[in-house]
Amino acid sequence: MTMLREDQPQVGAGVETLSMAAALNRALADELAADDRVVVFGEDIGALGGVFRITDGLTARFGEKRCFDTPIAEAGIVGSAVGMAMNGLRPVVEMQFDAFAYPAFEQVVSHVAKMGNRTRGAVRLPIVIRIPYAGGIGGVEHHCDSSEAYYVHTPGLTVVAPSNPQDAYSLLREAIRFPDPVIFLEPKKLYWAKGSVDVSSTATIGSAQVVREGTDATLIAYGTSVPIALEAADAAAAEGRSLQVVDLRTLSPFDDATVDAAVRSTGRAVVIAEAPGFASMASEVAARISERCFSWLEAPVRRVTGFDIPYAPPKLEHFYLPDVDRVLDAVDSLYWED
């Protein structure tokens, strides 16, 4: 196996309309083609192509040595990824659903996150752990957790959550090329949403993006909550309120510069995330903004999050999920004096 690296994707340059699932599949294929140190493995990701088909066709195209099924053992998957990365490969592993990543928690927290530090950089772990996250797909219990809080709290991890096919493509390629481990959270319910993807476009891990300009208040979202924020902004616009939307894209490290500038420009902020709100990513965003933008804030930072309960089952998830109305209610509560 040579250490070949090419900066340009091997196939399919140009712009196409793809679902996020297809964009992720393409990103994997393009990295597998570009760098033969990349290996993809996990449960049901070979012949089946993954339960969400994100790895569809990869074994057929790249062979059993590059993309293969493992026994069902998540600590085993992540732990052996650690060893593979130590031995020069760049493993991309799939956790089937996010609650099923928990058996790997010790490996993630005590090794994946810490190896670079405990070897003074002599052993860095370029591992990508792909986790389909969040709900909205009518999944039964344990299939719709939003587990990002566990990962963003863990020093040493880089945590990414795209909200559209373009970012999914670019960020996954970037994550695979990243020198450090990346937790790559894929918003399940957006897998089938389409968008145009420029496969030659690159991404920077660590940068948020203002995805809609607005002047009255800033909505801060990531992953599944971005489309809701955008919809809410549309609805608010119809009522004459101009909402800015920031897509975090990378949760950790956090893009303070973009977020601070956005919030300071409007003086009001709502953070939207699907996970239970207590001690969550949304808490961090709210705490940071409240501290860093204190003198700019006209109103308390509101959080629209999941309730602090186990994820709701299919029949009740519409009660649970943050939606446009809930976002607009939060916006309404931002001490408007006019």
Partner: protein
């Protein structure tokens, strides 16, 4: 199951072969025709429930259904060997076993139809909630049995899992705890050859899964998982042993998952229909029927009665699942803690506010 030979037999115990012919075994007796006829009745009902659920999921009445079609003999045996006070720790694929333990069929499908709870009171039926995180329930089974021993109660626990789940660390820890504490647990692995798309060969390189028992110092045995008679004998002996203070054991049943993993799965992506066809010939119902017919233990009247009973179970299930029961949002908050928290009270109040506003039509 013999008490202390280190290795399991290297072929599965079989008492009635696929053609319905009996092969008497020197260790494991074949149950009486009366017992097996009763077992056949359960098989018929179980098969019917599997078929009914297959339709219900296509009609959108179940969110998902992991069918045990083809594995009904395992389902029936796992429950038949239990005493009333014994406990069963099932997985998502064992809804039929849960039902056979006394839970109303529609209640057994509660999670699968999209509700937030297991559908039954575990204490009432001595059945743990069906577990989805693989192998985790084996540890609960072990702890349950441990408590029984500490309390001096004669409970035996049967813990179910698939062959894929044996790869998880929790399987190992459960087997080891059970052996070290010498607990009355029977680990019953339904080896249906696939874990979703992944074949057995990718889960284990061992001689058989029953051989895993050696590493814990407990007896293991393989059994034909489509042979109800063999299952009753092997599981029964394991349960007896456990109850007599003989400790845990591991039973591997060789069976086959006849349908896709769930309705959401497409099994043509990873297996040949020819392989599925081979297993049709080993159907657990067909062979038992032909055995009992041969013994004159089953006549047309009885068969018709069983079929009618199965129809009725299916009809009840259908009716129950076709009923549209409005979900109650309050249930989301009600059971998270024994006593609600200030935070949940606030959150529920805010949701209630939303619901009231939208009921009042303030939202268009």
């Amino acid at each position: 199951m013999p008490d202390r030979t280190l290795l399991p037999r290297n072929v599965p115990v079989q008492l009635i072969d696929a053609a319905g012919t009996e092969h008497p075994d020197e260790v494991y007796p074949t149950a009486s025709p009366a017992v097996l006829t009763e077992g056949y009745r359960s098989l018929v009902i179980s098969r019917r429930v599997n078929d009914q659920c297959y339709s219900l999921v296509r009609q959108g009445r179940l969110a998902v259904y992991p069918s045990s079609q083809g594995q009904e003999a395992c389902q029936v045996a796992a429950v038949s060997v239990l005493d009333d006070g014994d406990w069963l720790f099932p997985t998502y694929r064992d809804s039929v076993a849960v039902m056979l333990r006394g839970v109303a069929p529609a209640d057994a499908m509660t999670l699968l139809k999209g509700d937030w709870h297991c559908g039954y009171n575990p204490h009432e039926f001595r059945v743990a909630p069906q577990s989805t995180p693989l192998a985790t329930q084996l540890l609960h089974a072990v702890g349950f049995a441990h408590a029984a021993v500490l309390k001096g109660e004669p409970t035996v626990v049967v813990a179910l899992c698939g062959e894929g789940a044996t790869s998880e660390g929790d399987f190992h820890e459960a087997m080891n705890f059970a052996a070290v504490f010498h607990l009355p647990v029977v680990f019953f692995v339904q080896n249906n050859r696939f874990a979703i798309s992944v074949p057995l060969s990718r889960q284990s390189a061992a001689e058989s899964l029953a051989h895993k028992a050696v590493g814990y110092g407990m007896p293991g045995e393989q059994v034909d998982g489509n042979d109800l008679a063999a299952l009753l004998a092997v599981l029964g002996s394991a349960v007896d042993r456990a109850r007599a203070g003989g400790g845990p054991s591991l039973v591997e049943a060789h069976t086959y998952r006849m349908q896709a993993h769930t309705n959401a799965d497409d099994d043509t992506r990873y297996r040949d229909s020819a392989e599925v066809q081979e297993w049709v010939a080993r159907d657990p119902l067909v062979r038992l029927r032909s055995y009992l017919r041969g013994k004159d233990a089953l006549d047309d009247t009885t068969e018709a009665a069983f079929a009618a009973e199965a129809d009725e179970v299916a009809a009840t299930l259908r009716t129950a699942l076709n009923a549209d029961i409005a979900p109650d949002a309050a249930e989301l908050f009600r059971h998270v803690y024994a006593t609600s928290t200030p935070q949940l009270e606030e959150q529920w109040a805010s949701l209630q506010g939303e619901l009231e506003r939208s009921a009042e039509g303030t939202t268009p």
